[in-house]
């Protein structure tokens, strides 16, 4: 263990008895593990829920990949699980196919990559990395998880409805989602989807408010905004995005609920269905699409930014190099955050929206590619002349950057409205967003789990299994989504049960490739079992973790290996420097944690940092005020 890490603990051992008194409650099983207000426990609750959801959502994709890859396959053997959803001919029911596609999207986007990723790591890392004892409101934080749990349960229950869960695609465009007579999934399944999402949004908002308040108010002394790790910046921007955009989804959902249940016509107009002309007039389905994508596009960055933030941290640590262009990274994330709100209509170029609006959104969309490109280049430059340690977390981070680039570049094509005409709603889009947002964010999630597992559970995960897991997943993801571009260029629309109507032997031309994609998907999915075993086994039986397993600079590694509620025994460490002093010339070690003052590292200080020494007294002087804030 480093001497530098323990430094802060030695310095501040005085006067800490009073600020902890209120922490010493006796916790029973329920208050410790279930209705806990400890951000670390809540983070673990989110993580384990997210992992379970990921397996459910992933298995759905395997079932519909069987249909797409092997359209002639007899699926009778699935009847014990799917029951009547396998029809008499041994085929997947056509409506259930759409239900699977819908639930796969909903689960993965919201329950896995929003709750499982942001919920886990924002909760876990914000207090630990900024030096806070807990979230601004532990109680609201607990409520946030339990609203998410309620939402999960409702969504899960909807899977077992006789009429099936929501089936109109994860975007649930009305009128399909508004009219129960249009498809069975638009009946009770859609009602439960909307109810579930309402609770989910409430959960997200409570989480987001907490993250923002905590980052702004509870930073330890010396932790200025420009000394925050990029993880915290990314969680902060993510929370801002969610706070501003999720309410819009709620309004979209509410209006849809009104249309479905109370006879309003927000989205419905001039509809003739099942031999009946409906009385609704004057509504606009396009209105729903605007509202939906006002969340839907920021949502892409809600799932991606935390992954990028964690990757920045992991790549810097394991390259033993400062992240290249720290301020440019913050700037580009800020740019992405702002631009994320004004690009939504690029999902709607051919929906009948005014083409002039299409032009505007095309310009705005392609601007957002610039900060994204800057981020990718900065990651690559961080690797340059580093001394790379390939921990499983590092491997997944490099994988993320690769997937982020590979999926990102096709965004330049799709963001061009003239080119989008032909590619919209084809497999080209599916390949694009699965790489850039699905797989990249998933890799971020995995990187985060491997990297912070020792802090979460006080034990190490098995590295060799981690390597095998990575290589299977990395190769597998490319094998699934790279060929998918070809199918898109060949004009195959998405959400098709089969390609029989594409005509001219189009389906036959890609039979092999579809089968290949399905096999690759099955292998990739199966490989996740390696992770699951490693994860759950290591919680109980993993090797005990050292204090700072990756020799990292951030504050969480100064807390005890198994932190109690309150995180630090004694004073919270002060912060004197940025988190990326790796391999600094003149330093004794190749890392200098954030809580080491410049006065202790005279040999490695840069000229401008000498001036910082004078400020250390001021930082130390804030201790009283900081303790005061916890005793109010």
């Amino acid at each position: 263990m480093s001497t530098a890490t323990s430094h802060a603990e030695e310095v501040h051992t005085h006067d800490h008895s009073h600020d902890h008194e209120h922490e010493h409650h006796e916790l029973n099983f329920w208050t410790k593990y279930v209705f806990s207000t400890d951000h670390k426990t809540i983070a673990k609750q989110y993580l384990i829920s997210g992992i379970l959801w990921a397996f459910i959502g992933g298995s759905f994709s395997i079932i519909f990949r069987l249909q797409l890859g092997f359209p002639d396959m007899q699926l009778d053997w699935l009847r014990p699980i799917l029951g009547e959803w396998i029809d008499e001919g041994g085929k997947l029911d056509k409506e259930f196919y759409l239900a699977l596609v819908t639930m796969h999207g909903t689960i993965m986007v919201f329950f896995v990559l929003t709750a499982g990723l942001s919920g886990t790591f924002s909760n876990f890392l914000i207090p630990l990395q900024i030096g806070a004892r807990d979230m601004a409101s532990g109680f609201i934080n607990m409520l946030s998880y339990w609203f998410f749990f309620l939402s999960s349960m409702i969504m899960f229950a909807s899977l077992f409805l006789e009429t099936g869960p929501a089936s109109g695609g994860w975007v649930i465009y009305p009128p399909l989602s508004a009219l129960p007579q249009a498809m069975p999934g638009s009946g009770l399944g859609m009602t439960m989807w909307l109810t579930s999402m309402t609770f989910f949004i409430i959960s997200s908002l409570m989480g987001g408010i907490n993250y923002i308040c905590t980052v702004i108010n509870l930073r330890t002394r010396g932790m200025t905004f420009t000394k925050m790790p990029l993880t915290i910046w990314s969680f902060f921007f993510t929370a801002v995005l969610g706070l501003l955009s999720f309410p819009v989804l709620l309004s979209a959902a509410l209006l849809l609920i009104f249309d479905r249940s109370f006879g309003t016509s927000f989205y419905l107009s001039e509809i003739y269905i099942q031999g009946q002309a409906l009385p609704n007039m004057g509504g606009s389905p396009i209105l729903y699409q605007h509202l939906f994508w006002f969340l839907g596009h920021p949502e892409v960055y809600i799932v991606l930014l935390p992954a990028l933030g964690m990757t920045s941290e992991i790549i810097a640590t394991n390259s033993r190099k400062p992240i290249f262009g720290y301020r440019a990274m913050i700037g580009s994330m800020m740019g992405i955050t702002v631009l994320a709100f004004i690009v939504w209509a690029h999902h709607m170029f051919v929906t009948g929206m005014n083409p002039f609006l299409g032009s505007v959104f095309m310009f705005l969309t392609l601007i957002i590619a610039v900060p994204s490109a800057v981020k990718a280049f900065n990651y690559i430059t961080t690797l340059w002349r580093g001394n790379l340690i390939f921990t499983p977390a590092m491997l997944f981070s490099i994988g993320l950057v690769s997937l982020f680039i590979s999926g990102g570049v096709t965004g330049i094509i799709l963001g061009n409205s003239a080119l989008d005409i032909n590619l919209h709603d084809t497999y080209f889009v599916v390949a694009h967003f699965h790489l850039v947002m699905g797989a990249a964010s998933f890799f971020g999630l995995m990187a985060g789990v491997y990297h912070w597992f020792p802090k979460m559970f006080g034990r190490m995960m098995n590295k060799t299994l981690g390597y095998i897991h990575f290589w299977f997943t990395f190769v597998g993801v490319y094998m699934v989504f790279f060929p998918m571009h070809y199918i898109g260029i060949a004009g195959f629309p998405r959400r098709y049960y089969s390609f029989t109507a594409v005509g001219n032997d189009g389906a036959a031309a890609f039979t092999d490739m579809n089968a290949f994609i399905s096999i690759a998907a099955i292998i990739t999915f199966t490989a996740q079992a390696i992770f699951a075993w490693n994860f759950f086994y290591s919680i109980f039986k993993g090797k005990l973790a050292p204090q700072n397993p990756w020799n990292s600079n951030t504050l969480e590694w100064t807390a005890p290996i198994n932190p109690e509620h309150g995180n630090w025994v004694g004073e919270i460490p002060a912060v004197y420097r940025w988190p990326y002093d790796y391999s600094k010339p003149g330093a004794e070690q190749d890392f200098i944690p954030q809580n080491v003052p410049f006065s202790a590292t005279k040999s490695s200080n840069l000229p401008e940092e000498e001036a910082e020494i004078a400020k250390e007294k001021d930082i130390d002087g804030l201790l009283g005020a900081q303790n005061e804030s916890y005793n109010r």
């Binding site: 002309a277 095309m362 001394n387 790379l388 003239a418 032909n422 290589w471 290949f516 790796y582």
Partner: protein, 364 residues
């Protein structure tokens, strides 16, 4: 092809596992000597080599799979704007493939080259404003060029249709398309109203509008080659989307909000058949907005005819009013005389060939 790819994937996986497991065995003894607290383990080099192997095999697989898949891509566009968007697509594709290849190469090569070496120290290199400026400005310029050309094309495609455009109405419903033509006499579509829909008049043609009288319906889409065609698009129940893959045309059909798309087909069905060497080739109109259980089968056949053939075909079609004379009752009195010239003198049995379009394709 499938077996080839399968084989490749198996080799790929086997290689990855092999490299890892071998190095574990070889270095087990070394591992014991290492500082157990260090994050670097004996597999570090194996993972670094994995990166470069992945790069090499990935490049081969990428190029090879592209060459294999290419013959099955959509053939050359069969519309004027499609030719433009196609060439723009492939130019953009070349640019982004270059960016994709270059940045992934650097990423994986650096990962390999700068793998951990205990005798080396990482370079403390936190910032370089010039570099950052360069890679902010270059993507911005490339993007600006792509956007600008894209915008000009988009502007042309979505401009007002020429006044002489042939107007055809397409109505999406669960699960098929109704096609209505403006008729040979006035080239103007009559009004419609969803409340007038019944089992025969399944589009809801409004016969109080005199332009409706000569309108005829069909179960397939006929387009004249070389003439601008304006599709007026409706939906009756839920969202649908008109997709003519070969013409690079796509536009949603929205209940309550008419949409439109105009384009000029430049290749007849026969010409495309000759070009592809497929005698049974036909253009298709598919649905690309999920609309329910029959979504995937919601297709009709599209014929692009030489203009004279198209005119001939149109002339052969009987107006809706001619095949369904009972709808004369819906025509207001002052227009009855105008309408009745489309009514055959003797009420004839409905000719099945010219029957009004029933569900174009039924897929249940």
């Amino acid at each position: 092809m499938f077996y080839l790819i399968g084989l490749l994937s198996v080799i790929f996986f086997a290689l990855a596992i092999n490299v890892i497991s071998k190095s574990i065995k070889l270095n087990k003894s070394l591992a014991r000597e290492e500082n157990t607290d260090s994050a670097v383990d004996s597999n570090n080099n194996a993972n670094a080599y994995g990166m470069i192997i992945f790069w090499a095999l990935g490049t081969i697989a990428g190029v090879w799979s592209f060459l294999v898949a290419q013959p099955d891509f959509l053939p050359i566009a069969a519309s004027e704007h499609g030719l433009k968007t196609d060439s723009m697509f492939w130019i953009s594709m070349a640019v982004v493939t270059l960016a994709f290849f270059a940045s992934n190469t650097l990423l994986l090569y650096f990962a390999f080259k700068y793998r951990y070496n205990k005798n080396r120290k990482a370079t403390f290199y936190p910032v370089n404003h010039k570099l950052e400026l360069i890679w902010t400005v270059i993507p911005a310029i490339v993007m600006a060029i792509l956007v600008f050309t894209g915008w000009r094309t988009w502007r042309d495609i979505t401009s007002q249709a020429p006044s002489d455009a042939v107007v055809i109405e397409i109505t999406g419903h669960q699960f098929g398309w109704y096609v209505r033509y403006a008729g040979v006499d006035d080239n103007q579509l009559g009004n419609y109203n969803y409340k007038l829909i019944d089992e025969t008049n399944n589009i809801g043609i409004d016969f109080t509008d005199k332009h409706s009288f000569d309108d005829f319906t069909a179960t397939e889409l006929h387009l004249p080659k070389g003439k601008p065609v304006l599709l007026k698009i409706h939906a009756q129940d839920v969202l649908h989307s008109v997709y003519l893959p070969f013409h690079r045309v796509k536009m949603d059909a929205v209940p309550g909000m008419p949409t439109k798309f105009w384009f000029t087909p430049n290749m007849s069905t026969d010409e495309m058949r000759a070009k592809l060497g497929k005698k049974d080739f036909n253009f298709k109109l598919n649905c690309t907005e999920v609309c329910g259980r029959g979504h995937f089968g919601m297709a009709i056949t599209v014929f692009v005819d030489e203009p004279e053939d198209y005119a001939k075909w149109c002339a052969e079609q009987k107006p809706f009013l001619a095949t369904n004379p009972t709808y004369l009752a819906k025509v207001p009195d002052n227009l009855k005389s105008k309408a009745s010239k489309y009514i055959p003198m003797e009420p004839v049995a409905v000719d099945s060939a010219a029957a009004p379009a029933e569900e174009a394709v039924s897929v249940n």
